[in-house]
Symmetry: C2
Subunit: 247 residues, 2 copies
DNA sequence: CGGCCGGTTGAGTACAATCAATTCTGGTGG
DNA sequence: CCACCAGAATTGATTGTACTCAACCGGCCG
């Protein structure tokens, strides 16, 4: 019992798209051990770059703890955030051998670094592992489509509401239940994720606050007071569900 | 030699994200034959629904010919288009056992229908097949992120330019080289894909036409005249590359 | 105490949404 | 071959919303 069972190798957290099962850790001990043998653990401090777009993609990553942001730099000043990653997520997607986006640590973070060459060798052999990866990639696709869904919204309050909703669902899916939504990223990152200016995000927060739809303990802790009003902003659909542990 | 080699089973067209190789058909004859045994061929006429969001996802699909659109219905009147699919693409992604979006034929189309139960059995055994699927899913992720990239743009002409650029790249990646871009979908579908109103798309086309940046033989055939101006609208980056057959 | 960074707020502007009227296009039947 | 029709697409006028730019606040660190 020297090491806790959650400390021996990369993890992949996801839910099977083909059955209504709860989100869970996909890799069993054997696979984690096998991956552990070819990977290394790297720690990053807040704001550290993990890799940058265009660099030769020699490794993929599995997030062990902390929060990581992937983004595409645009011009010199602005960036477009593609995703916020949490423990159990994998990242480091490449295109033609080069990273398709940049990644940086939003909080201090610990990641497993898996060289692609070694990973490919494993993937070619172990159909079980492949299957787990397939499941995770399917989840990433729905995540990206969910993101797109936020971006098409035109009203700022709707975008913000959908963003908060997304974060809340991710949080409960991770098992961090609680009535408050925690936002590890700053307002600028939110703006770059939902496709608004920083000013617009700020105004949208203000609008939701004065409507008493939400309340903030501080800048990073949000609570939803008027659930009905909140849902109405999302567009009546609510069709974006993420499998939670319970139901 | 009774049947041409391209007619015996599902196809998956994609390029390996880990090496700068051209886009190609991933599945070898053996795998296609194996998939063919568990799948059926279905033909859809223009505007036929292939499946709809929320239905139990019993099968995934591989597009053999034609163009398919996936979308999410919003309210009664509007929809949000998630992707335009071409031969060699796979679709039918589910979430908790139900389709995450709807799909319909944009032109008449022929698809391979693969029941998930049978597919899962194959995937659990054949690591090679799994690997091909992983490659394709990686491509779909970058596609979704590219789509998101279009949606964040604020100016209508930029969105349209990026859309045209995307279609052109897809076209050359498919090997259908030619100086004209062919748009199999109607203006409404374009509007729903780029996140604009139909009117705004129309005005954006007009703007590009009067600027002589593009010209249209008819509504579905576009040619880019002023490449420099065109690129400038995309945001100077041009960072969205899709591997083409040649380079 | 001062500066700096992240965030908020204000005023004016630009751009796309909306609604509605009109034109274009492709298909059908005389 | 042409007249006609229906749906798709264009265009116009108006309105709304978010962007921009810029000033201002508040906490944190030196």
């Amino acid at each position: 019992m020297a090491l806790a069972s959650n400390s021996i190798g990369p993890i992949i957290h996801a839910s099977d798209p083909w059955s209504p099962s709860p989100r869970r850790q996909l890799l069993d001990e054997r696979k984690r051990a096998r991956l552990a043998r070819i990977s290394s653990i790297v720690r990053f401090e807040k704001n550290d770059r993990i890799y940058h777009k265009g660099a030769v993609a020699e490794a993929v990553f599995s997030l062990k703890s902390g929060v990581v942001t992937t983004y595409v730099p645009i011009a010199k000043t602005s960036q477009y955030v593609t995703a916020f990653l949490y423990p159990g997520d994998i990242f480091g997607l490449s295109e033609e051998g080069r990273y398709a986006n940049s990644a940086k640590a939003t909080t201090s973070a610990v990641v497993y670094r898996v060289p692609v060459a070694a990973l490919q060798r494993l993937l070619g052999k172990d159909a079980d592992l492949d299957f787990d990866v397939i499941i995770k990639l399917c989840e990433e696709i729905t995540q990206a489509q969910r993101h797109a869904r936020i971006l098409v919204q035109k009203r700022a309050v709707s975008k913000l509401a959908m963003f908060l909703d997304l974060q809340e669902r991710l949080q409960t899916a991770r098992g961090e239940a609680g009535s408050e939504i925690f936002l590890p990223m700053d307002r600028t990152a939110i703006a770059d994720f939902v496709g608004l200016s920083l000013a617009a995000v700020s105004r949208a927060f203000r609008a939701l606050l004065t409507r008493r739809t939400i309340s903030c303990r501080d800048r990073r802790h949000v609570k939803i007071n008027d659930r009905a009003d909140f849902e109405s902003l999302i567009g009546g659909d609510g069709g974006l569900s993420i499998s939670r542990g319970g139901a």
